[in-house]
Symmetry: C2
Subunit: 199 residues, 2 copies
C-alpha cells in the first residue's frame, strides 16, 4: 500500500533515520544502499559524495525549521509577540522533530567545515528574522540591547542548550520536562525585555 518513493528521497529518508538511530560514525554509504535494496554506487547518481548527501539533509532540516517558525511569526504581529513566538517555535520544533533537529546540530560541527558558504547564508533565514525583530523592538523602545546581531546569536545558543538537554535526556530526574522548557523560555525572554530600573 505504501507509495514507493523515488530512490533519491528514499536515500534521504533512510539516511536521516540511520543517522538518528545509530549516530554519525556508523553511517556508511553501503549500509544506506543495502537498506534501500541497491548498491552503494547508486547513491552517487543522486549525490556527488557523502558530504553532499549530508549537506542536503542539513538543508532540508533547516528549511523545515525556518518554515515552522515563519508560519507563526508573521510580520504583521506585535514585535514582542513575534519575538516570543520565534523562541517558542524554535524549541517546539526541536522537541517535536528530534531526528531533523539533531541533524542540524550534530552533523554541523563536523560537516560544516566543508559546507559551502553560499549555502550557509541560506540557512540563516530565521536568524535574520530574529535580528530584524529585535531591531524593530528596539526602535519601539521595547528592548535595549547593544547589538542585535550579538543578541540574536546568544539567543540561538541559549535555545540550543535548552533543546539539547531535553533531547539528550540529560535532565535531572527531579525536574519536570515541560516545566523545564517553559521556565527556560521564560528566562530567555525576560533577559531581553526592558525593565525600568530605579536608580
Amino acid at each position: 500500500m505504501s507509495e514507493v518513493l523515488p530512490l533519491r528521497d528514499q536515500i534521504l529518508e533512510i539516511s536521516r533515520h540511520m543517522l538518528f538511530k545509530e549516530g554519525y560514525r556508523s553511517l556508511s554509504m553501503r549500509k544506506i544502499a543495502k537498506q534501500a535494496n541497491v548498491t552503494a554506487t547508486s547513491i552517487y547518481l543522486y549525490f556527488e559524495n557523502k558530504d553532499h548527501l549530508l549537506h542536503t539533509l542539513i538543508e532540508e532540516s533547516v528549511e523545515d525549521l525556518s518554515q515552522f517558525i515563519e508560519a507563526e511569526a508573521l510580520p504583521q504581529t506585535n514585535n514582542i509577540e513575534r519575538f516570543k513566538t520565534i523562541i517558542e517555535r524554535y524549541v517546539e520544533f526541536g522537541i517535536q522533530n528530534p531526528e531533523e533537529y539533531e541533524i542540524i546540530y550534530k552533523i554541523r560541527s563536523d560537516a560544516m567545515a566543508r559546507y559551502p558558504k553560499e549555502k550557509f547564508r541560506k540557512t540563516r533565514r530565521c536568524y535574520e528574522l530574529l535580528v530584524q525583530t529585535i531591531m524593530d523592538s528596539i526602535s519601539e523602545g521595547l528592548m535595549e540591547v547593544d547589538d542585535p546581531v550579538v543578541a540574536a546569536y546568544s539567543i540561538w545558543a541559549q535555545l540550543h542548550g535548552i533543546v539539547s538537554v531535553v533531547l539528550n535526556k540529560r535532565l535531572d530526574r527531579r525536574i519536570n520536562q515541560t516545566k523545564f522548557i517553559n521556565d527556560s523560555i521564560e528566562l530567555v525572554i525576560q533577559g531581553f525585555l526592558v525593565q525600568k530600573t530605579v536608580h
Copy 2:
C-alpha cells in the same frame, strides 16, 4: 635540544594538533602513528581504541578548563564577583586555547554518545561550581531565577555560542572582536542580575 616526550604524551599532542588543523574526519590512527615515527598498532599499547584516545583528549581539556576557572573563581570572594569571573574566564579560556576548546565541543557531539557516564560526571565540576554560585547569590537576594540548574545550563550554552562565533571567525567584519566579546558577556551577566522594577 627538545626534550623527548614519552610516546603516550606525544600521541596526545599530535592528535590534538591534527584534530584542530585537519578536523575530526581526517584523523586516523595511521596518520597519528606516522607523525610519531611509529606504527599504528603501537597506539593500542597506550589507548584501548580510537574512542578512548579521544575521550582522554576531552578529559584533559575539560580538566584544564576547570582549573583555569577555579584558579580565579575562589570561594571566599563575593558571589556576584565569582559569578562574573566564572563567565569571563570561560570565554577567555576558549579564545586563548582554541585547540583545547574545540576538542571539548567538536568531538563531544560525536564521541559523547559512547562517553561513559561516570567520566561525564567528572567533566561537570565547573558546572557544579556555577550552580552553587547562583544558589548562593539567590540566597543573598542578588539574583532571582526559578531554577539554578536550568540557569547554569543556559549560561554555558550562551557562552559557548559566543566563543564559537569568534573561533569560527563567523563574526561580521564590521564587528570588533573584543567589543563583541565584552558586550556579549555583559549581556549574559545583566540578564541574571536582579533589577528592582517599578510596577
